[in-house]
Symmetry: C2
Amino acid sequence: MLFGALEAGGTKMVCAIGNENGEILEQVKFPTEIPETTMPQIFEYFKGKDIKALGIACFGPIDLIKESPTYGSITSTPKKGWSGYNIVNAAKEALGIPVGFDTDVNGSLLGEVTWGCAKGLSDAIYLTIGTGVGGGVISNGKLLHGMLHPEVGHIRLPFAKNDPGKSVCPFHDNCFEGLAAGPSIQARWGKPAVELADKPEVWEIESEYIATALMSYALILSPKKIILGGGVMHQEQLFSLVRKKFKELVNGYILTKEMDDLDNYIVPASLNDNQGIMGAIKLAIDACE
Amino acid sequence: MLFGALEAGGTKMVCAIGNENGEILEQVKFPTEIPETTMPQIFEYFKGKDIKALGIACFGPIDLIKESPTYGSITSTPKKGWSGYNIVNAAKEALGIPVGFDTDVNGSLLGEVTWGCAKGLSDAIYLTIGTGVGGGVISNGKLLHGMLHPEVGHIRLPFAKNDPGKSVCPFHDNCFEGLAAGPSIQARWGKPAVELADKPEVWEIESEYIATALMSYALILSPKKIILGGGVMHQEQLFSLVRKKFKELVNGYILTKEMDDLDNYIVPASLNDNQGIMGAIKLAIDACE
């Protein structure tokens, strides 16, 4: 059985055809322009592919409340043309099949809990640290929506030791995204993260912010695994630094087997950067039920 | 139908008999000494009361993992005699009825979502700020356990403006509990909270810590309501201060109907300090299913 998957991002739209095992059989990309030019190309791609359903893992914020009159739409994005666009209704109309829908980060997490490093876990978090910071959460075996959906990148953090501390977030003076996402690294050091790999002072500060945020997630969500993805986390030296600082910060307050084995608690994404599109396949599978 | 309820705290044990409507028909208290002297009194009280099940909302940390060999026990408490005591097994043996079990704060939240201000909500948090700070969480309609259970009082916070900042938590230099629980207020100002009601500078700092923590909970858990209980929150002037600072901190980043109505989003506990024992009644009811 075939399923369509759309990972809808602010710069590109990844479309794939997959099967019930999460195998990606084919994949294409389109640049994200405006709905009127971008979406018809996507729908054209999926037509005639004999897919049973489409799953959309979408950039946000989005309306996930099933009872809402605007369910399925992108809400207050600054991205021109997309604010208020109902991507779910448009897809249903164009393709006439069931459509599953969630945030991009919940999609990535769903990929990891279905086929990746968090397989079968009831409680986990997937965090992406790149141009922004976002997170998907599964809680009691279901992707977390609640009032809206988690926006874990915008929690307030204490300034790291030796950080002059200037947030690049337009909303918050000292939030995690504003202090630790890619643009913040660039603003602090004058170069993109990828050119700073050999500067320990960069990763000292970065890992303190990440570890502090992870401690909050661990204490509030009690996840069984924390998965880190996104461009900044391609700096693999960060993992051991983050685990070390996390351990120092928690300071023995939580006693669980997970805390005794941080190498398997704080882990990189496991699906070769396909976690998002694979999660979208699972959203499509679930939409058939 | 009658149910037994035990709110097991570090200083007192509240025992009650209730019905399926959460009505408390009778109630007694015993001081918390050691299990060998305290628990027989409790079991004696419940015997012959014709209760169908017992619900225990218990101080922690506790083992809530059903598959664990130590499920039902209090784990690493400093409270003499209780570390490793299996309160669930003891109750089952003494009374021969089903026993429901959760944290004290999850119990309070369960009372509020069953009969109180959060009735029917799938996602909410109950926070108690008193001698310590703890929180219960419901997520996707179920009390959150995950790896252990939430320990939301120990997240790191930035020091408040004008706070010399000294945490009284033995584990953490700048966690919420260490900076804002009752003992911290006493350490900072030399008097207990209740004697400081007319000092605005006390509540300025206190409300900043609370608002910052609530912002993290709101962004990470996406709750539909935040309920505040505990001794410190008996200072009712805190509510308007906390809502004001919360609004400033979120700064329009989340757009939901809840954010437009903070008076109904950040609210006091609603069950006259009976939320814990009423939650324990519900734990008993659920244990029969």
